[in-house]
């Protein structure tokens, strides 16, 4: 696995505050401090094969240092499913997730311990693989509270978070309904793709009869850092992304920008300790991008491709200075650059990004079917909406299309073996 470069930020000693968040690239100097480095989380900053605890006040997979691989799945509840079926599914999912995240088979008899005439309960492809930092994170879509016709199928309408509404449409949206939305979602992240796939495959199987797979997405090459112990990765445009993300070590920023607090929405206090998850499949017109001159690429991103430094100067973690001008008088970080528009300086807010690159082969036109599967966690969907609206004039828009969109309420974590994700909602 990739050794974690813990020294860079520490040596640079960069200190930033009030940092922006870009969707594809961007942000400013890291929030890293010597204190934060000393207190960095387990996982990617530790043993990449180790287990991450499933139980806790918050679900794992949000501030867990971003793993290398993603398998995300969105489900629709079956027309025949009732409230008891949904509860039974969520309980079974939590029980299975608690096992698989610890590197165990999905059940006690598992892949090879069952009777010879019955299909194995575990599908078996993760036999012998370590836990690989697997996290399994569950989310609830608007459809859990009211279906497309507004019917409250499970008696949950009164507990629906007011903010859990379909996202507004944005400029350059080219959304496809079959790969958008969903009643339930599972984010499985791991440092081994087979471990993540195994998790989604088995959880999908458990759901047969209650929920059906609606769409899914594989991702690789995390495009964000969520811990100060991680290197900043590059997206498929070749740029460093996530430099200014909200980090696991920044408890203040997490409380302010990520975790839903009790009282945020009195009708939906079951969500306290959770967050809202936005997913967007953002296709990149790779071929067009690759034909752009380097200087123009830099101007669109607002960063230097080589080291990720803002065009106002310095290094990757230098705070961008939006007032710096070039000799010709133009802004060093152009007004239409992704960095400027995504930054808190312009958007006025922050989000915790956790996206992944994807390449799904080629499209029918012989073009690379590639892009970013963007995911962000935030205390309110309004934060994402503010950032996305700020990006309306982004020069990068010419090279991307948003193909799928989804919003999920991500409940707090299961507190222990007797608890399950979603228990606060159905209590």
């Amino acid at each position: 696995m990739i050794p974690v470069e813990v020294t860079r930020r520490g040596l640079l000693g960069a200190v930033g505050a009030g940092l922006g968040a870009g969707l594809l690239a961007g942000g400013a100097a890291g929030a890293a401090t010597a204190t934060a480095i000393a207190g960095r989380g387990a996982g990617a900053a530790g043993d990449p094969a180790a287990a991450v605890a499933f139980h806790g006040a918050h679900q794992a997979g949000i501030v867990t240092p971003a793993q290398d691989r993603l398998h995300f799945a969105s489900f629709d509840l079956m027309p025949t499913a009732d409230r008891a079926d949904v509860i039974a599914l969520l309980q079974a999912w939590s029980a299975a997730a608690a096992r698989m995240t610890q590197g165990l088979d999905v059940s006690e008899t598992g892949a090879v311990g069952g009777p010879p005439l019955a299909p194995p309960e575990d599908t078996g492809e993760a036999l012998g693989l370590p836990p690989s930092n697997l996290t399994i994170t569950f989310g609830f879509g608007p459809g859990l509270f009211a279906d497309a016709d507004g019917v409250d199928r499970y008696g949950l309408a009164a507990r629906r978070p007011a903010a859990l509404q379909p996202l507004p449409s944005f400029a350059f949206d080219l959304l496809e309904a079959p790969i958008s939305g969903g009643d339930l979602a599972i984010q499985a992240c791991a440092n081994d793709p087979q471990v993540a796939v195994h998790a989604i495959r088995n959880l999908t199987r458990i759901a047969f009869g209650t929920a059906m797979l609606r769409w899914a997405q594989l991702g690789f090459g995390r495009t964000s850092s969520t811990s100060t112990g991680q290197q900043t990765p590059r997206n498929l445009f070749g740029y460093k992304d996530g430099t200014a993300n909200i980090m696991a070590e920044d408890a203040g920023a997490l409380a302010e920008h990520v975790w839903v607090a009790a009282g945020d929405d009195p009708a939906a206090d079951w969500l306290a300790g959770g967050a809202y998850l936005v997913t967007r499949r953002i296709a990149m017109t790779i071929e067009n991008w690759d034909r752009l001159p380097l200087a123009e690429q830099d101007d669109i991103v607002g960063r230097d491709k080589r080291d990720g430094a803002p065009l106002s100067g310095g290094g990757e973690f230098t705070t961008p200075d939006f007032d710096v001008r070039r000799t010709d008088g133009a802004a060093a970080i152009p007004a239409t650059s992704h960095l400027r528009l995504a930054h808190e300086h312009t958007s006025g807010t922050r989000i915790l990004r956790r996206g992944y690159n994807y390449v799904d082969g080629a499209n029918a036109l012989g073009q690379l079917d590639a892009g970013l599967f963007f995911m962000s966690y935030q205390r309110s969907p309004e934060q994402f909406i503010a950032v996305q609206r700020s990006l309306a004039t982004d020069a990068m828009n010419e090279y991307i299309r948003h193909q799928s969109s989804a919003l999920f309420a991500v409940p707090p974590g299961a507190r222990g073996d007797g608890d399950w994700v979603g228990s606060t909602l159905f209590a």
Partner: protein, 406 residues
């Protein structure tokens, strides 16, 4: 682990459980036997009385017709055979004795031993459930006998339906032939895994064009005629091929070949050495569902790629699987608490699946063309099929992998 292999033994006086709720260590010995008179003629099948108390029941079948006849007792689904007697010669009398459990049934005769049968009549057994012996082998033999009888009955239905379909086709009455295509396939689709077991028969009867070509065998059977009857659709699907209609000699050749092949299937399942096992039944059930979801199956709409009658095949496959399940349900339910729960779950899943399919039509009124079913609707059909297939895949274990309760 046991591997019971029990041959079907359907005798003149087969003893079958009607709704077997196997209660261990109890018998029906000593109970008096109720005699029911059955008269089979060319046009009627009278059963007297129409209601009897639970316990041993002897159906005394008299053939007052001109052809060899059969008599069936069916479950209330009208499909699952709980007992049958075959080969009753004109003028002959035969007894069929069963342990009658309370419930609603149908009786039907089949003079000529071909077709759907005549005189389908409700039959009721009242009173308390009767304890029956926990004899493992007897239970297995009865399950196998019931399912074997079903396979034979479907083969018997298949022959005249295919004949009518081919007759219309060869006569050039294409509209009638197109209208009969789906229903001619129904009995075949209900028992397809059995036909699969006879090597050459399934490829000849039911291969699709790409399958036949891939294996280098002559393209014959249902789908060859389908291609000729829906030639415009076939040309659209294979635009690079110069597909031409068959001439009269060509029609007769493929028509007669299909008639001969389904007759060969009928003969094979009625042969003296034809036998099935419990695992044939349980694995055949899941095999039927796999036929639906396969990449060249009904769910993707590839099975009947020109006629788009896939939903009819879909329901026929489901019904065949349901009858297989019904044949072994008593065994599964009696072996373990898990088996009992499985049976309850499968009841619910089969009902949900059939109900969903019936929103698209029925055998009687026809189904909507599958090319009008949207992807989103197909996804729900697939999800409902998964919901059924997943528990059904554990039926073999519940029947054969669990020791009988003491």
């Amino acid at each position: 682990m046991r591997h019971p292999v029990i041959a079907a033994t359907v005798g003149a006086a087969a003893t079958a459980l009607l709704l077997a709720g196997c209660v261990p260590n109890a018998t029906a010995d000593g109970a008096s036997t109720t005699v029911v008179a059955v008269e089979s003629t060319e046009t009627a099948c009278t059963v007297t009385p129409a209601s009897v108390p639970s316990g041993p029941v002897t159906f005394r079948v008299t053939n007052a017709g001109e052809r060899v006849t059969e008599f069936y007792v069916l479950k209330d689904d009208g499909l699952s055979i709980v007992a049958e007697v075959e080969n009753v010669a004109p003028g002959a009398e035969r007894d069929l004795t069963v342990v009658g459990q309370p419930g609603d049934y149908f009786t039907v005769c089949k003079p000529g031993m071909i077709g759907d049968g005549i005189g389908t009549t409700p039959f009721t057994i009242t009173g308390e459930a009767v304890s029956v012996g926990a004899d493992e082998e007897a239970a297995a033999a009865e399950a196998v006998a019931a399912y074997t009888a079903y396979v034979k009955s479907q083969a018997a239905e298949l022959v005249p339906r295919v004949q009518a379909f081919v007759d219309a086709y060869v006569a050039g009455d294409d509209d009638t032939a197109r209208g009969l295509f789906a229903s001619a396939r129904v009995p075949y689709e209900r028992i397809e895994p059995t036909a699969d077991a006879f090597g050459e028969l399934d490829p000849a009867i039911d291969y699709r064009k790409p399958g036949a070509e891939a294996e280098g065998i002559e393209f014959t059977g249902f789908h060859r005629i389908e291609m000729d009857l829906w030639l415009d659709a076939a040309r659209a699907n294979y635009p690079d091929e110069d597909l031409q209609p068959l001439d009269q000699a060509g029609r007769e050749a493929v028509g007669n070949r299909l008639v001969d092949d389904v007759q060969a299937l009928y003969d094979a399942v009625h042969a003296a050495d034809f036998s099935l096992t419990l695992s044939n039944i349980t694995n055949g059930a899941i095999g039927l569902l796999d036929e639906i979801s396969a990449p060249d199956g009904k769910l993707p709409g590839e099975e009947n790629e020109f006629a788009h009658t896939d939903l009819s095949d879909f329901l026929a496959n489901i019904e065949g699987a349901q009858v297989a399940f019904e044949s072994v349900r008593a065994i599964a339910a009696s072996r373990s608490a898990e088996g009992e729960a499985l049976v309850a779950e499968l009841d619910e899943r089969f009902a949900d699946m059939v109900a969903l399919l019936h929103t698209y039509g029925s055998f009687e009124s026809g189904f909507v063309a599958y090319d009008t079913v949207t992807q989103a609707e197909r996804n729900v059909l697939g999800a409902q099929l998964n919901a059924l297939s997943e528990p059904l895949s554990t039926l073999t274990h519940a029947v054969l992998g669990v020791e009988p309760a003491a």
